[in-house]
Amino acid sequence: MTDALIWLVAMPLAAALATLLLPRHASVVVIITGVVTTLAGGILLFAVGTQGALSYEIGGWTAGLGIALRADGLSALLLLMTALVMLAASIYASAYFSKAVERARFWPLWLLLWTSLNALLLSGDLFNLYVTLELLGLSAVVLASLGGKTAAVAAALRYLLVGLLGSMLFLAGVSLIYAGYGTLDIAALAHLIEPGPVTWTALALMTAGLLLKTALFPLHFWLPPAHASAPAPVSAVLSALVVKVAFYLVLRLWLDVFAAVVTGAAANLLGVLGAGAVLWGSWRALRAERLKLLAAYSTVAQLGYLFLFFPLLQALPSGPARDAAVGGLVILALTHGFAKAGLFMAIGVIQQRCGHDSIRDLDGTAQRLPATTFAIALAGVALIGLPPSGAFLGKWQLLAGSFATGQWLWILVTVAGSLLAAAYIFRVLGHAFGHQAYPQRPVTVAREEWPALVLTAMAMVGLGLAGAPVWRLLEGGL
């Protein structure tokens, strides 16, 4: 059973080599990888649900000397989301890239990115996390540059430098931890950790590095150009997964490994930055001229909500109320992952079919691409946080936690952010519904439109209904 952990890393990595050596059979390899990783993710989730956290010691060496892979409810949920989003995005990408030479370049890097996502979510070793962060950063940068135009390359270059700076800061923190505690194993460290200069400085450095990578306001400056100028399938996973796993690492460090030394003031600081992200990101999304830029700024805002949970979790005593808040946080993150991936793919369809993604010129899109417009509407509902989307459950917990701890500021921010989100989504939909005759079929280009539709439906209905099992999985986890 625990072999599933190593297969989740080895499978996409082997597939990357296969697509490099046999470019003609790449699509088959990718689909098989997607199906197998999704199954492995499902099995893992089931196993974690029934047996609790799993670990796998690579090479048979005890963790500490060697490196252990670990999975608990949180990482298993994110792994399954990664598998589903990557599978859908792969199907979409096989239609998006029309030239053989483009696909030959794209697939190996895509699978290397996939490897790094899984490896990061499973890693139980601080230095190994640094290596996975670099693999994630480099593969994401190359994929983002595949757009090839000046804007894409310039944005990718900035993305690379920011990412490198982030991982170097992270590594500096890891070095301090090794100097002070003599171990890199996360589980061992969680038992040893104690307040003091080493711990605080290390946590500050690692967090600063990760906040750069997860683009928390005001360190978000690199994200909109990079996400808006990348090819659509790449934008989808950059926004839905790549920044999300960096956030996962912040969560892991703050609520798990370093939980004993995190102070209320530090958590409040993250909350304030999150509030800034919600307001600034939503405002810029409202003012955006292009759909892709809107979606990118909306990512900045949605990440902000996730950081609003930190002061709540710090203030809530452990118990059902806190567990509920953790569940809300995870559901919000998952919903955003599905919804934003779907949104970017839908935008990609519009961009390729209409030749542009300017919001003002969308008139009639609802008639020409009804399924895609519907996917955008579904994603929009999830981004605003209306029922029955998973985001509604998440935001509900955010509000409930704020009431319970008397932190009124976050309530105001959440409400303001949601109103702004409603405004920018309805602005898009208002333009999309014009007056033209309806076509015969709702879905006009299947391979391109279905993935977005399925993902956004997941965000809307799937996660709304799956709330209870998610909570059960996370119980007592963080």
Binding site: L157, L160, S175
Partner: protein, 95 residues
């Protein structure tokens, strides 16, 4: 605590700060790439200083292995940054 550990470790801290300053100062791209490499060298210096155990005593090999990995990752990233810069120049002259 050994004097050499302290000396080299503190120099590492200084070099990290020197590198970071240039990265943040919006210097030319080349200088920023060099600066990130310098920053990394500072971190590596801290790691190698941690590993040192005094003359004649075998040092801790784990930080050495980590630094070796770090050096290879740094050169990969540098190579990629330079390739991106080259492509950017090509695209700009096309525009």
């Amino acid at each position: 605590m050994l004097t050499a550990q302290l000396l080299y470790g503190l120099t590492g801290c200084l070099i990290v700060a020197l590198g970071l300053r240039t990265v943040l100062l919006h210097a030319s791209l080349l200088h920023r790439v060099v600066a990130i490499n310098v920053l990394g060298a500072g971190v590596f210096m801290i790691l190698v200083a941690i590993a040192y155990r005094g003359p004649g005593v075998p040092p801790d090999p784990i930080p050495h292995a980590l630094v070796l990995t770090g050096i290879v990752v740094a050169v990969s990233a540098t190579a990629l940054a330079l390739a991106l810069a080259r492509r950017l120049t090509a695209e700009q002259s096309n525009d």
